[in-house]
């Protein structure tokens, strides 16, 4: 059912999606870079990585809005000698190893379900869903005019054991946990 709905949604949204793989929108190019940047200003507990050379995995949950932009953003990049790998999946379970999980708009309805799954271990969750940060996510993109801005829920991050750089915090809009349910349920 959900799938149907998703598929339906996908269909309704197909015209832009069709174009996405070939020429990702400017917005997602910026967001892809932002994702990469987030990796640089956030530190994970050492336990996250099995060993010294374990890559940093970026997971895209749901429909991929980036196209090739994300791959381009992380190509040939390394953070603390760790390679960057992008994983895509519609299933939360597939993305358990990821250190950062971008939750696509396609998962909008499942957010409440997804988040508890992800927040069980130190994962930086990012989404463009409005109010995502106030509702259990760590970072949420939002549009400020033509610019892409983001909100940070520092409480969530701390709870997850993520160390956010002050530089990042200075740039992001700091939000608090209002209520885990509420809006989502509404």
């Amino acid at each position: 059912m959900l799938c149907l709905v998703c598929g339906l949604l996908w269909f309704t949204a197909s015209p832009p999606l069709v174009a996405a793989p070939s020429a990702p929108a400017r917005e997602y190019q910026v967001k892809a870079v932002f994702l990469f940047n987030f990796l640089q200003f956030v530190e994970w507990p050492a336990t996250v990585f099995p060993d010294q050379n374990s890559p940093i995995r970026i997971g895209v949950l749901g429909d991929d809005p980036f196209g090739s932009a994300l791959e381009e953003a992380v190509r040939d990049e390394a953070i603390n000698h760790r390679r960057l790998i992008v994983n895509r999946s519609h299933r939360v379970e597939d993305l358990r190893d990821c250190q950062l999980v971008f939750i696509s708009k396609s998962e909008n309805r499942r957010i409440d379900a997804i988040l508890p799954l992800l927040n069980s271990h130190p994962v930086l969750t990012v989404s463009e869903v409005e109010g995502f940060a106030r509702h259990g996510g760590v970072i949420a993109f939002y549009q400020d005019g033509k610019k892409v801005r983001f909100e940070i829920n520092i409480g969530t991050a701390q709870r997850l054991g993520l160390k956010m750089s002050s530089e990042l915090l200075r740039l992001g809009k700091i939000v608090g946990q209002e209520s885990l349910t509420g809006d989502f349920s509404k």
């Binding site: 940047n37 640089q40 990049e77 983001f150 530089e167 200075r170 740039l171």
Partner: protein, 826 residues
Amino acid sequence: MSRHQDLPIRKKLSRVILLTCTIVLLMACASLAAYEVFDFRRAIARDSTVLAEILGKNTRAALAFEDDVAAQEMLNALQAEPHVVSAGLYNREGGLFVHYIRSQTSITLPAHPEGDGHRFENGELLVFRPVVLRGKRIGTIYLQVDLAVINSRLWLFGAIAGIILIIALLVALVLSHRLQRPITDPLLALADTAQVIAQRKDYSVRAIKQGNDEIGTLTDAFNAMVTGIQERESALHAEIAERKLAEHRVQAQLARLDQLHQITRATGERQDLRSIFQVVVRSLEDHLPVDFCCMCLYDEAGHTLTVTSVGVNSESLAAELALTENSTIPIDQNGLSRCVRGELVYEPRIADVYFPFPQRLARGGLNALVAAPLLIESKVFGVLIAARRQSASFSSGECEFLKQLSEHVALAAHQAQLYGALQQAYDDLRQSQQTILQQERLRALGQMASGIAHDINNAISPVTLYTESLLDTEPNLSPRARDYLTTIQHAMEDVAQTVSRMREFYRQREPQLSLLPVDLNRLVDQVLNLTRVRWSDMPLQNGVVIELQTELAQALPSILGIESEIREALTNLIFNAVDAMPNGGTLTLRTRINANSTQVQVEIIDTGIGMNDDTRRRCLEPFFTTKGERGTGLGLAMVYGTLQRHGAEIEIDSTLGRGTTMRLLFPVPSATPATPVVISSAPATSRLRLLIIDDDPLIIRSLSNALESEGHDVCAASGGQAGIDAFIKAQNTNLLFDIVITDLGMPYVDGRKVSAAIKAASPRTPVILLTGWGERMTAEGDIPPHVDQVLSKPPKLRELRSSFVHLLNGAPPRSSSPGTDNPLAP
């Protein structure tokens, strides 16, 4: 620079010190400032780099998330840093992300970042630093830093340095002023001393030595130099004084030389002693000058001096001293005697000399005397006396001058004498030149006359021969005829005499003339008769009356002479007297004897026009005439010659317009010789056979006729060759000629050749040479060889007869016998 050199040494030293201080300080300040600038720039570069690094770090997140607001905020924080003029943040692609510009400035940032690092440009520092995120460059930070602060720091630094400099200089000034004194004070003292010496010319001043350094040495050297100058100056002064004295002497000497020169020139222009002396005396009086001056001539025989010239100014004194001109001074045993021995005498104080002449001068108030001798060829002929009132007033130069002057005067006098002698010699020379000229004229005339005489002698030969022949051989002649013939004979004799005398002009007659006693009274009568036509008849025709007076002395002694010559002379003088009275007058002839009977005088006096002096002087010269074309100029010259031959003199008294007296003075012989016997007719020889050779037919004919009428047998030959032929022919036929008479001058074969041929054929045959040149031949001793007798033309029968007798009697004379009355053929 020159101004610097003109500065006082103190200021110079101060300047040097201050300049050194200034330079050193400035160099120190400059190096400090340079170091300051360098250090500041390094510091600001470092600071700015650090700032850029910090900014990069702070903005790298904003850059990474393209958060321009946050980045801008960061950059705006630079407002706290006033030096930062602008700042810029460039993204990875090089585009300007955000920028910061300090307010109130208009700056454009570079569009793209440059290479990392910093550079200084236009007083600003530009810094480019990379913005790194996790070891990865994500952009560039740019800073533009204003360096104005360095300038303000430099200003501050400069102000501090300037203050330090001024203080340092003030200190240096004070110090230099104090410290330079040990050097400058002695130097200035030395300079002051030098100036004092230079200004006052006082070389006795010395500089004071203040130490033993170089300046002390300099002071010593200066003092030594001044000492040297002082010595040299005093020596120089002495020398200058000496030279001035010498120059003064030279000037005086030159003045005297000039005077000497002037006197010498003045005397050189004069030729007589008196005016030379006058010049000298005047010049000495005026220019030497002297109070008394005179010139004296020395009379050696009388041992006196004769004053000849006294100066104009000395005349009164001379009169007082009895030393006027022409007065004599006896030479006493004083200076004058030394002077006449040739010494210059100088008596500085004549009053002290006790001799008459100096005392005489001393009485006239004169005290110093110089007597200079005038010497010609080391013989004193005069004395120059100069005297002054002031005693000892003649300097040695003046004495020398007077000595030289006397030498010059003597020389001039000598020259004047020489000039006189020269003039005399010149006059004599001119005289003898004129005599020679006259003789030369006469010689030429004589030669001409000789030719004329020859021709005349030939021409008158027939007349003489016929007249004599007629008179001798014709007893039946009427008395009238005889009288006429006698007159003709006399006239012919006169002609022959005249002709022979014509030649006398060129040749001195031998002194031994055959002089015969002559009665001058009778001769005067004769001449008056002969010339009657001239002094009586001819003037009367023109209505002119000449009155004749004769004053003949009684018992006049005879003189020795040649009657015809004296007659001729008297005739000449009478003619002259008549010519001098064209308007009539009185002609007086006077004979008289002088008081002691040694001279007989004949005077021919006219009352005619007279002669001026010039004419009177020249009237005896040959060819001098006042009668123009009418006169030959020979009359009086012949008279003079005649008189000279007779040892007589002539006196001419003449007054122009009053008349002339010609006075002939004949010496009276001491004893009148006996009158020689005149052979009037030679004893007739026997009939002779004669050969006559001549080229002149008239002579042949007249001679043949005359000799034939004597009774001789005469054969005539015309020409020399014909004569020789005739002689040879006669010899061959044994009809020898007794005597041959041949002419001398004939064409082709002359008398000499004829006689030579005849003597060759018959050496014993006498030859008589008959010649118109006979006078000259006999006179010159030119009787040709082979000739036994020379007879002159015109031939006279008396001579021929006499010759025949002598030649045939075997005692042939070589010349005419003294018995003939031909006085010109000795």
